[in-house]
Amino acid sequence: MEKKILEKIYVLRKIKPENEWTSKLKEEILESQKKEESLSVFASLGSSVAKKYEVLVKLIRGVSDGNFSFLKTRNVSAFAGVFTFAIFFFVFMLPHFPLDYNRDIIYFPASSPALVEKEGGVEDEEDKRMVAKEEEMEIKKKSIEEPIEKEVAKLRENVRGLKVEVLGMMIEKERDIKKEELTDREITRYLIEIAKEDVATKNEDAMRIMSVEESKEDKKEDLTKDLIEEIKERMSSDETKEEEKETLYYAIEELSLDILKKAQ
C-alpha cells in the first residue's frame, strides 16, 4: 500500500474527544443509575413528587456537606414548594387527625364528616352493646350446646363400645380368638356385616308378614267366593222364600263388591 495514503489515514488518529467531556460523560452515565434507584420508590407518585424528593435529597446532602449552592439553582422553587407544604402539613393538618391508636386506620376529616360528629358519641356505644350482646349469646349457646354434644359423644362411644363388646364376644365364639387381636378395620367390617344381616333379617320378616297377610286375604277371598256360591244355591232352591231370596241377592252383591275392591 502507498506510504502516503497510509500516512494520511494515520493522521485521523489525532481525532480525539476532550478529556473533560469524556470524564463528565462517564460520571453522568453512572450517576443516572443512582438517580433511577432513588426515584424508583416514588415513581408511582408522579414525576413532580419525585422531583421534590430529589430536591430534598440534594438539600440534605448540601446541608451535610456545608454546600448551599443548590439555592442558586432552578430547583429552589421546587424546594420552596416542598418546604411550604411540610410546614402547612405539620402546623395545620396534623392536629385535626383523629389519631386513635385503637383503630386500624386514620380517618381524614374531609372524607368522613359524619365520623367527626360521632366521635365519642352514641353510635359507638350502641355498636359496643350489640357486640357485647352477641358475645353473650354465643357464650350461652356454647354453654348449652357443649354439654349436650359431650353427652351425645359419650353415648355414641358407649354404644360403639357395647357393639364392639358384643361383636367381640360373637367373634370369639366363632373364630376362637380374643377380640383384642382384632384391628379397628376388622371390627368395622364385622359391624357392617352385622348391620347388613340385620337389615336383611328385617326385610325377611317384613316379607314373611306380608306374605302371611296376603295369604289371609287370599283365604278370605276364597271363603267369600264359597259363600257366594252357597248363597246362589240357596236362592235357586225351591224351599227359599221370595223375601229371603231378595236378602240373599243383596248379600251376593255386597260380597262381590268386596272382592272387586280387593282386586283393585
Binding site: 481525532i15 480525539k16 460523560l25 462517564k26 453512572l30
Partner: protein, 207 residues
Amino acid sequence: MFKSEEVKRKEEFEKIYDNHVDQIFRFVYLKVSSKETAEDITSKVFIRAWGAVKKGEVFCERKKGFQKKASLSVPESSASLRNPRAFLYQIARNLVIDYYRQNRKREDDEKGSSKNFPQTKVSLEKVVVPDKEMRADERAILESQVEEVKNALKGMKEEYQNVIIWYYLDELTSAEIADLLEKPESSIRVLIHRAVSALRKNLKTKK
C-alpha cells in the same frame, strides 16, 4: 472482600468506557460532520451499553434491527463483555444510521458546504489533538490533512469507511472485523483492499 454484582458491573463498564470512548468518538465523528453530534451519539452509545451491562443481557445488534440474544443461559459477566468493542461499534453504527435518516437533508446541505473551511475548522480544533510542541502552521497543516481524508472517507460506501477506520485507525484484525460484520475473513481482506483503492481514488479526485 466480596464485591456486589453491581459494583463489579460498574467497574467493568468503566474499564470498557476508558478503553473505547476515544475510538467510538472518532468512528462517529468521521461519519457525522459536527463535534456536538458526535458527542451526542457517543454518549447514547455508552448509555445503551451501560443499560445492557446493568441488565446482564447480551445484545446483538444487527443491521436490520435490535435483537435480544440470550439473557439466562449465558453467564452474565462474560457474555455481556465478551466482545465489548464489537458491541459498542454495532450500537454506534445503528445510531449513525438513525441520525442519517433523521437528518438526511441536513447532511446534503453539509456536503454542499463542506468546502466552507471556517465552519469545519472550528470543530476540528476541538477534536484534533495535536502534539504538544506543534507550531501553529504545523497545526494548520495537520487540520487540513485531517479534513481532506475525512472528506474522502465521507464520499465512500459505509462499509469501506468502516473497514478503513477499524483496520487502520483502531487496529482491529481482519478476524475481528469479520466478527463485527459477520462475514468470512477472506471477504474482509478483499473489502480492505477495495476500501483503500476507493480512498486513493477519492483523494486523487479531490486534489
